[in-house]
Amino acid sequence: MAARALIIDDSPFARKIIRHHLAKLGCIVAGEAENAAQGLKMFRELKADIVTLDVMMPEIDGFNSMAAFRQIRREAPETQIIVVSVVPFEKTRETFLDEGAIAYVVKPFNQYSFKAVQQKLVRLFPELSEDRVIA
């Protein structure tokens, strides 16, 4: 069964591009959320294997991306979280990676943005493939 992914990002452009790259690997994109609170709710419903999480989204009810990240890590440490951010600082990247994110992708995306992520996901989910041809 293909890995199921949830995209949490307030930008519809980022969601579309991330969906495109995950689908290319063979992931099933099970849902998309526009903010951290909605994302956590959908995560609990969908039980996604992979979550992409934008860290700079408007807070809803005081709940932000860092809180969602830590909550998902607590509830389902086996879930693979890819952090997406406009913040290119090494220290911020290290913080998320130290806390268990498998990758830290900086926006705006370029042709290299998803390469390392795709390689990691293929290693973690053997059913995925970088060479998958979309019919």
Partner: protein, 141 residues
């Protein structure tokens, strides 16, 4: 977002802060779109570029309207958020001048500077028209 931004600033190395709007070098004469960015989007399967252009045409006018409304009622938090979103949208297409103007609005709104943000919005509108025109040309290629 303000709280998260301050957390991220604390996490950043001393002396750093969340990136400020891109520095000059981007002028009115600059191309509306970065050709390399567009070329890479065009290489992707599934008509990704055309889908993103369609999204631009539906999302951006609505965001401009929301931004004008937010500034009119002096809601700088919402205005900064929309400026931030428009900056990200511009970055998707390599629309560097649009990105710079949106970043300036984001920054001005976060600083509580409503009138300057309104003036910047009036600069942003024609730039968005220029980007839209350039995207429509790319669609037909």
């Amino acid at each position: 977002m303000g709280q998260l931004r301050s957390v991220l600033n604390r996490l950043a190395p001393k002396g750093d802060e969340v990136p400020a709007p891109a520095a000059a070098q981007v002028t009115n004469d600059s191309p509306a779109l970065d050709r390399d960015v567009i070329a890479k989007l065009r290489e992707e399967e599934d008509n990704l570029l055309v889908e993103l252009i369609d999204l631009f045409n539906t999302e951006v006018p609505a965001q401009l309207q929301e931004l004008a409304g937010a500034l009119a009622r002096r809601d700088t938090k919402t205005a900064a958020s929309i400026g931030h979103t428009l900056k990200g949208t511009a970055g998707t297409f390599g629309a560097n001048r649009m990105c710079e103007l949106a970043a300036n609005i984001d920054q001005a709104a976060r600083d509580g500077l409503v009138e300057p943000a309104v003036a910047m919005l009036e600069q942003l509108r024609p730039e968005i028209d220029r980007v839209r025109g350039a995207l429509e040309i790319e669609r037909t290629k």
